[in-house]
Amino acid sequence: MAEVNLRKPLPAITTEAKPFWDAAAQQKLVIQRCHGCRAWVWTPRPSCFECGSERLEWTPMSGKGEVYSFTVIRQVAGRAASKAFEPDIPYVIAWVDLDEGPRMITNVVGCGVEDVKLGMKVSVVFEQQSAEIWLPKFKPSPT
């Protein structure tokens, strides 16, 4: 588990996203799915972007996906809070395409930054950031 660093900017636990963070704290990845048209809806929102239905259900995911693309952060920039990420340098920011369809922005962890490749199979891990927030990140899947 990563060292807990309370100075990093944390997501707001809105009523809309609370089920996501509650599940993450239990090491489970859940995403909204439309009860009507079965579309996966990510990021969280009040109604389905395909059919407009308000009946969205938080649904467990396989937690598996692949790296669509990535970059390596080697220096911090911009807002002051970015400084909190300095000890993590170098680290990977990635677009991970989940097997079920949605795309997440995340970190690839558990391997060297040089080992990350496009198309690499990854699976979810959770890193605790605060008492309530466990961030879903991804590590290389065993081959």
Partner: protein, 397 residues
């Protein structure tokens, strides 16, 4: 539905670019100073006076970090205008091109006869609290340590290179052409010509994005004046008509797997604008493309349909300089002239007007009659740029 040649640009104004305030002890100018300066230059160019705009249109681009939402109204106060129609360019970097469409429609409706569209920002001289972050960025990006737009564009660029075999030689050609044009533009900020090796050897900012891939933040103000065709004909400069306009905000929804992230909304908005103008690709004499990054210019050339997606040969054989088959960024673009926040994109409209008036100086595109301008705004979660706006301009109605 068309607003083809229902309004014309009759005046332009642009302050010099500077980075005052980036070093301690330097004088600091406010956005208000740049905005007033740009307006006076545009009024002089058009031969109009401030009070001509009472009861008429005022369009103002909204800077990303400005902390109060009433900025367009405040600009009216700063300048001393009582607009009859006030419009905020709220599509980020696309704002100034969006305002072209909105104001031309208002002129065509008879609501107004002339409009001043203006924007300024002084990111180095004014210090904002960082603005309000949208929910997606606050909750789903920043906690992972993303470092602004560089992180996201880097992922687009890497994937394009992976999928199509695009190399730094293909991309660098755009950087070299832009800087060459800047070397011929007295108003550009970075004017020393570069080679393809300079581009390839520039410092990595967010792998694979390099320093010479990135736009140059700067202080500055920019303005243009639109008028009805009847009014335009009575003014001193050759009118430059808005012949076609297309906009696609949020061109795709949802963050989903697949390669939509490599396709820009100009694919649709460009088609709409070109059909309205009644022009084909062969009839377009130059492009002024929104350039926050080199890869973004590259993607637009593909998605506007000047070549097929991933056609590397097209980039290898095409001369993108003002003398070539497809002149682009003929003044150097924002990458070399500077980007005062969301006012930055106005630069592409102003350069198009200069070319279509024959005021391009050493970088004049021969026989320029029709040019295409784009504006892009917002980098949403998990995909390519948000609002994609295209205007086709011409010097004949």
């Amino acid at each position: 539905m068309t607003i083809r040649s229902k309004a014309a640009i009759v005046g332009i104004g642009e302050t010099p670019t500077d980075r005052l305030g980036s070093k301690p002890g330097e004088p600091r100018k406010s956005s208000a100073e740049y905005i007033s300066w740009a307006m006076h230059l545009a009024l002089e160019d058009a031969g109009l006076s401030l009070k001509d705009f009472n009861g008429q249109g005022l369009g103002v681009t909204i800077p990303t970090a400005y902390p109060q939402p009433f900025w367009p109204e405040e600009v009216a106060e700063i300048l001393g205008i009582t607009p009859g129609f006030l419009l905020g360019g709220a599509t980020g970097g696309a704002g100034s091109v969006s305002l072209l469409g909105g104001m031309a429609a208002a002129i065509n409706s008879g609501l107004i006869e002339i409009a001043l569209c203006i924007g300024a920002a002084a990111p180095f001289s004014e210090h904002f609290a960082g603005g309000i972050q949208p929910g997606d960025m606050r909750d789903w990006e920043i906690p992972y340590g993303t470092m602004g737009p560089n992180s996201k564009i880097a992922m687009v660029m890497r994937r394009h290179m992976h999928e199509y075999g695009t190399t730094l030689d293909h991309l660098g050609k755009i950087a070299v052409a832009g800087r060459y044009h800047a070397s011929l533009n007295p108003a550009a900020y970075l004017r020393k010509p570069i080679t393809i090796d300079d581009y390839k050897n520039s410092r990595l900012v967010a792998d694979p994005v390099r320093l010479l891939d990135c736009v140059l933040p700067a202080n500055g103000g920019k303005a243009y004046i639109l008028a009805s065709p009847e009014r335009a004909k009575k003014l001193r400069k050759r009118p430059v008509y808005l012949k076609g306009f297309g906009e696609r905000s949020n061109p795709s929804y949802g963050a989903r797997a697949g390669s939509d992230a490599l396709v820009m909304g100009v694919k649709d908005s460009g088609k709409v604008a070109m059909e309205m103008a009644g022009v084909k690709h062969s009839g377009i004499n130059f492009l002024q493309l929104y350039d926050d990054y080199i890869i973004v210019v590259y993607l637009q050339i593909e998605d506007l349909g000047f070549c097929a997606k991933g056609d590397l040969g097209y980039f290898e054989r095409t001369d993108f300089t003002f003398k070539g088959q497809l002149p682009i960024q003929t003044g150097g673009g924002m990458i070399n002239c500077g980007q005062p926040s969301t006012a930055g994109g106005t630069l592409h409209i102003l350069e198009a007007v200069r070319q279509l008036r024959g005021e391009g100086g050493e970088r004049q595109v021969p026989n320029a009659k029709i040019g295409l301008v784009s504006g892009l705004g917002v980098l949403p979660y998990g995909k390519n740029l948000g609002c994609c706006t295209v205007a086709v301009l011409g010097n004949e109605a």
